[in-house]
């Protein structure tokens, strides 16, 4: 188990809840940040009551525009930012709760890859040491950790003899991101959070890294939480997709269904804003007007109503809810038009 850490079917060894137990259950997670100079008691509602379930072996994509709380959510899941309230259940065990799983134990099983591949590596450490650092801190001897690092570098497509002794500044963007993936995998995680992990890469390199992520997921039996603003990439890699707007979930469903028949007007607008590669099919009218509002003092009721073409009085008065989403095939939207009893004139049509 020690040397070829990642090649072992470790998932079964550490699985506690069984295949039907979701990898991660998130319930009503909330984090507000106080802001100075924006009025008394002003808070940014970065993540405001987010609930979802991540099943074992799937890839859940999270999309949304900048400022919608995607990255804060990722950090909350690892307690890199401590949530104000809400509940996290990892493989049947409550996180940081009495008789639950500790945050340290959680972080050994859940790793994260960040967007800025250079900033997330130590510039004064050769990459083989960066990759070996995690296993060493968790009790492996230096030679053991070195060997594990070399194995994992091979897996991400970097020759250890050639690249191992190099420093981060000697690598290209794609190679650095491969190192970050290797470092995350060196801990033998069961779940990986990829926060805009391919967004800073050029298209040809992005394709290489996406292929690598898919291959690693198959061979290492991983579960991914894939955060991106690029809808095409999310469509490509995800089994299910969650759409966020101003700190809340507006739509959640299987990728195929959500992309072909979006139910929330915001998701429809996002999809319509995708650029085609066909110069004869140009977009003439923008699907949405204006920028997203500030997450400080968001609109009452439905947060999307200020930009929504179908907004009515009920949208300002009541906040729509997602509805039941217990199993992995359900496709739900937090919109009054999706709820037949909401009182919206188009209720039940979405």
């Amino acid at each position: 188990m020690s040397t070829t850490l990642a090649a072992q079917p470790y998932v079964d060894a550490r699985d506690r809840g069984g295949a039907a137990q979701p990898m991660l259950i998130v319930r009503a997670l909330q984090r507000h940040f106080r802001v100075k100079g924006a009025g008394k008691g002003a808070v940014v509602r970065a993540v405001d009551g987010v609930s979802f379930t991540l099943f074992k072996g799937e890839t859940l994509g999270i999309v949304g525009e900048s400022g919608c709380g995607k990255s804060t959510l990722a950090r909350l899941l690892l307690h890199l930012i401590v949530p104000d309230s809400g509940e996290l259940v990892f493989d049947g065990e409550a996180v940081a709760a009495p008789r639950g799983i500790t945050v340290a134990a959680l972080r050994r099983q859940v790793q994260m890859v960040f967007q800025d591949s250079y900033a997330s590596l130590n510039p004064r450490m050769p990459i083989q040491d960066s990759v070996a650092f995690g296993p060493m801190m968790n009790g492996q001897s230096r030679p053991q950790a070195r060997r594990a690092a070399q194995d994992i570098l091979v897996k991400v497509g970097l020759r250890p003899d050639l690249f191992g002794p190099r420093y981060p500044h000697e690598l290209s963007g794609g190679q650095k991101q491969r190192v970050n993936i290797a470092r995350a995998l060196a801990m033998g995680p069961r779940m990986v959070i990829l926060d805009e992990a391919v967004s800073a890469l050029d298209k040809s390199v992005e394709a290489q890294v996406l292929n690598l992520l898919r291959a690693l997921k198959r061979t290492l039996n991983l579960t991914y939480l894939f955060i991106s603003h690029d809808l095409n990439v999310v469509r490509y890699i995800s089994d299910r997709v969650l759409v966020m707007y101003l700190g809340q979930v507006v739509e959640l469903g299987p990728a195929a269904g959500l992309f072909t028949t979006p139910r929330h007007p915001y998701t429809r607008a996002l999809l319509a804003s995708r650029l085609s590669m066909d110069a004869t099919r140009r977009i003439d009218t923008p699907p949405l007007i204006g920028d997203p509002p500030s997450p400080i003092n968001p609109p009452s009721g439905c947060r999307f109503r200020t930009r929504c073409a179908h907004a009515e009085a009920v949208c300002a008065d009541h906040m729509p809810t997602l509805g039941a989403w217990e199993d992995r095939t359900s496709h739900v939207a937090a919109c009054h038009m999706a709820d037949a009893t909401s009182g919206h004139s188009l209720a039940g049509t979405a």
Binding site: E65, S66, S172, G173, G174, Q175, D202, K203, S204, V205, E206, A207, Q208, L210, N211, R214, H229, D230, L231, N232, V233, R235, Y236, A255, A256, A269, L270, S273, R274, L275, S276, M277, D278, A279, T280, R282, I283, D284, T285, P286, P287, L288, I289, G290, D291, P292
Partner: protein, 336 residues
């Protein structure tokens, strides 16, 4: 596009080379770019990071540091030699005849000046307007780029605006003196998808109304498809393919363009993407022959010996490749 087909070229660039010289090495950022632009035409320079597209724009605008950047070749705007401009002539040229929109409006705008001050400085310097007239014109310009309540926003500082509004303000500044040539360096890359399409549609409309020649730098094929008349694809400092946007995106003639299109994710779940192997060459040590040959699946021994000569596979189209015929055939097959 009809207007673009007639008249003499607005901008002619011939064999533009930019080298950055340091003590350790010389970086060949642009090696022999040649293209022209007619008045009212939109040309997209398409390429990945480090391909030389932004450096080409900065060379045109004479923004590169004169000591460290060695520029050769000719750049002519309306027949005048841009690389020879000095002093006041250069000041008139920048902002008057040519203006530029940068990628990141927060760093391109001065945080201690209001949007109105940015605009009136331009109008007073280039158009000689008085204080009140310049302010009135500034408000008109903000209205033109669809900034809501321009009378209020004219006194706003850059940090008080959202990303989309800031980029609109920058467009207003660039257009304030009615430039003949607009240079746009990834103007929508930092914006969210729903805001990006709004700004693209706005730019397309303003470009048609003002009738200015535009060079638009982007790495996004979708943006090029949305705004360009012609595209020029850059790789390792060279323009390796050029042609009308619809033709190039339908049937690329260079293997790099074809590879770039194949590696762009587009509704193909559950199969691997056809990525281009390897990474772009080191611009300090360019390989002999074609720079793309080390990554190219079609490369032959001849590709590695000499730099390929331009090939013209169709009217208005150019590619630097020995195997254009094979690439064109392969790229036409799926649709045929």
């Amino acid at each position: 596009m009809d207007a673009a087909a007639s008249g003499p070229p607005l901008l002619e660039i011939d064999n533009l080379c930019v080298d950055f010289v340091t003590r350790e090495a010389t970086v060949h950022a642009v090696s022999g770019a040649t293209f022209s632009l007619r008045a009212g035409e939109v040309l997209c320079l398409l390429g990945e990071s480090g391909s030389g597209k932004s450096v080409t724009l900065r060379a045109l605008m004479r923004l590169l540091p004169p000591r460290r950047a060695r520029i050769s070749g000719t750049v002519r705007l309306d027949g005048a030699d841009v690389l020879a401009l000095e002093g006041r002539k250069l000041q008139d040229f920048r902002g008057g005849a040519v203006s530029m929109i940068f990628q990141e409006p927060m760093t391109a705008l001065d945080p201690v000046y209001t949007i109105g001050q940015h605009l009136t400085e331009m109008l007073r310097r280039h158009k000689g307007l008085g204080r009140a007239a310049a302010r009135a014109r500034a408000i008109e310009l903000l209205d033109l780029v669809k900034i809501p309540s321009p009378e209020r926003r004219v006194d706003a500082y850059p940090h008080e605006l959202s990303g989309g509004l800031r980029q609109r303000a920058m467009i207003a500044i660039a257009l304030s003196c009615g430039p003949r040539l607009l240079l746009a360096d990834e103007p929508t890359t930092a914006l969210d998808a729903t805001v990006q399409i709004q700004v693209l549609i706005l730019l397309r409309r303003l470009q048609q109304d003002f009738g200015m020649g535009t060079i638009f730098v982007t790495h996004d094929l979708g943006v090029a498809a949305e705004i360009a008349d012609r595209v020029a694809v850059m790789y390792a400092g060279c323009i390796i393919e050029e042609g009308p946007v619809a033709d190039v995106l339908r049937a690329p003639a260079h293997p790099y363009t074809a590879g770039l299109m194949a590696s762009t994710v587009h509704d193909q779940p559950d199969q691997d993407i056809a990525a281009i192997p390897g990474s772009p060459p080191d611009l300090r040590r360019l390989p002999p022959g074609c720079s793309f040959a080390p990554r190219c699946a079609l490369a032959m021994p001849a590709c590695r010996q000499a730099f390929p000569e331009p090939v013209f596979p169709a009217p208005n189209r150019m590619a630097l490749c020995l195997r254009v015929a094979d690439v064109l055939q392969a790229s036409l097959q799926p649709t045929a």
